[in-house]
């Protein structure tokens, strides 16, 4: 066969240029549209990690679901954790569509998680110790998630942007749910107040790490430049962390809590919060599934998988 490039068939470069023009003009890319391989792979990596993090993120809070101290709290936290599983489901569907041309399925995503190829968010490798943690996760971890997800609401990939819109709407309720738990504790007995302060102290470093390192120099790699180039996100990790401080530091203080970082202050000169860096070598460990609870949480997913394999086999019958 003779290789002919006909006038109607643009070259890869032309397609790429056309694609970049579209996203730079604010157009949305849909699942069936042509997209550069690198864009597809970036999305698959980002959204599968986001989806699996929602699912793994249900686990730390789930530890407190059966233990919630009142009927109202039991109902509230059950609904909240259910939402997180729902987010996971929604995002895995978006990923499945992107993976279709590669011949991969949800099964592959779950296998990649269990084998360690697919990472889940660093914050969900941490340990929970008290009911205060259940409140703090809803309030500040979901609060942080709102900030990163809002940053991608206008993502160039349409299906992701739409999923995020739904997720963000629910996240607002999650933050309120967490704040209500924290408020009850902060206004409660001496022991209850101590429970919140202790939770904040223990989660502080994880909250700083939540947004990822400021630049690639910290950990060797960073995807933030690629995702900004492709119009998936707009702000850098550090800008998001600063937004988080601006929103939540006043709230933390107004509850009468102490900041775990004594040296932290807002610098009026450059308009930035100055804070002590977390130990980024710990971050590197955590994202390699060497965090305090990485193995236990992965083990739970592994059990859910192996223990119910007969069910899945029967459904495919």
């Amino acid at each position: 066969m003779v290789n002919i490039i006909s006038a109607g068939q643009p070259t890869e470069e032309a397609k790429y240029e056309q694609f970049m023009k579209r996203i730079e003009a604010g157009e949305k890319i849909e699942a069936e549209d042509w997209m550069p391989e690198n864009y597809r792979m970036t999305l698959i990596k980002l959204i599968s990690m986001h989806g699996i993090s929602e699912i793994m993120g249900a686990l730390p809070e789930k530890e407190w679901v059966p233990k919630a101290p009142t009927l109202k709290r039991k109902l509230g936290i059950m609904a909240k954790v259910q939402d997180e599983m729902g987010h996971g489901q929604l995002l895995l569907r978006v990923t499945e569509d992107l993976m279709k041309p590669l011949g991969k399925t949800r099964e592959d995503i779950l296998q990649d998680l269990l084998s360690g190829r697919l990472k889940f968010h660093n914050v969900f490798h941490m340990e929970t110790k008290s009911w205060g943690d259940a409140g703090l996760i809803g309030w500040l971890v979901d609060g942080a998630a709102i900030i990163t997800q809002t940053n991608m609401l206008d993502a160039s990939y349409g299906p992701y942007a739409r999923a995020l819109k739904r997720i963000c709407a629910e996240e607002v309720f999650h933050a309120q749910h967490g704040e209500a738990i924290i408020l009850a504790l902060a206004e409660g007995t001496k022991e209850q107040r101590a429970m919140v302060q202790d939770a904040l102290n223990r989660w502080w470093e994880a909250l700083l790490m939540f947004f990822g390192p400021g630049d690639a120099a910290t950990t060797g790699t960073s995807k933030q430049d690629t995702t900004i180039k492709y119009r998936i996100r707009t702000k850098t990790n550090e800008e998001l962390r600063q937004d988080f401080f601006t929103k939540y530091i006043p709230r933390v203080l107004s509850l009468g809590l102490e900041l775990p970082d004594e040296e932290m202050y807002f610098d009026k000169e450059d308009g930035l919060w100055k804070y002590q860096q977390p130990d980024w070598s710990k971050f590197k460990e955590i994202i390699q599934n060497k965090g305090p609870k990485s193995n236990e949480r992965l083990r739970l997913r592994e059990i859910a998988y192996s223990n119910n394999k007969w069910v899945i086999d029967a459904l495919q019958h």
Partner: protein
């Protein structure tokens, strides 16, 4: 307020004065509340461990409804002066609980935090049989002499349609699949029947329930349950035993297992840190 409503409220007050009526209503409400509460708790332990993510979402939604029903029954008890609803749910000892033993049994080996080797077949059968029994009871409660309970029954009934459909689908699908799934399901069915009698038991209070027109008799409820279940069993070529067992005892009379003790310890862990505090 209409004349009829006024009459009804006067009647209700009269009835609560009647010898033994309040006690009988209280007992029945405890049976209903404790059943839903402990099963919803068992459901909440499954969160994140179900066979697939869609099921995690659906099962959790059912568990929330069920926990909501428990909360409603506990608040009816609170209105009758039995005590604070949260206290009733969290602070009572196993021997004071009235739930059927079938519902308190652990989901399988392990705990929800450590090596939960939970049994999906047992969960499907227990939930399906329970929801059908609950449906039969709730229909009977629509005609109960205690009006607030009749109103609660109407609300609960609206949500049961979906619960029943959900568990029936699983039941039919897994047994219909044959092979290992059918073997596992048949074993679960046999196990559940060993204690299914406890769901219908009205314990030592059965006579008082009848005298006060609170709910149909155990025999009537069992007959109604069998009537609904027989076609399903027939279609799957499964046999239903003539009599349902109560091998581990009658929860309505305060007989319980170690599984319930352990569950109470977990579900009240935070509550017990300070029972007077507001959480």
């Amino acid at each position: 307020m209409g004349r009829e409503t006024e009459d009804m409220i006067v009647n209700q007050k009269d009835m609560l004065q009647k010898e033994g009526y309040l006690e009988a209503v209280t007992h029945l409400l405890f049976q209903l509340a404790d059943d839903d509460f402990i099963l919803a708790y068992r459901g909440s332990e499954w969160l994140g461990l179900a066979p697939h993510i869609e099921e995690d979402v659906a099962f959790s939604s059912i568990s929330q409804d069920t926990m909501g029903h428990a909360a409603m029954f506990y608040s009816l008890l609170e209105e009758l002066g039995a005590g604070d609803a949260d206290k009733l749910a969290h602070a009572r000892l196993a021997k004071d609980r009235k739930n059927a033993i079938l519902l308190e049994l652990a989901n399988g080996p392990g705990t929800y935090l450590n090596e939960p080797q939970y049994d999906w077949a047992f969960t499907v059968v227990r939930n399906f049989f329970y929801v059908q029994a609950k449906k039969v009871k709730i229909l009977s409660l629509k005609n109960t002499s205690y009006q607030p309970m009749a109103e609660a029954a109407v609300k609960v009934n609206m949500e049961l349609y979906y619960h029943l459909l959900h568990w029936k689908t699983w039941f039919m699908q897994l047994i219909g699949a044959g092979g290992e799934a059918r073997t596992r399901m048949e074993k679960a069915v046999t196990d559940v029947f060993k204690d299914l009698g406890g769901l219908f038991s009205q314990g030592a209070t059965a006579v008082a329930f009848g005298e006060n027109q609170l709910i149909d008799t155990e025999e009537q409820l069992i007959a109604a349950w069998k009537h609904e279940m027989t076609p399903i069993f027939d279609s799957l070529e499964m046999k239903m035993p003539k009599k349902f067992g109560m091998e581990k005892g009658d929860g309505r009379n305060g007989e319980h297992t170690q599984d319930l003790e352990a569950a109470i310890e977990t579900l009240s862990e935070v509550y017990r840190l300070d029972v007077k505090a507001s959480w």
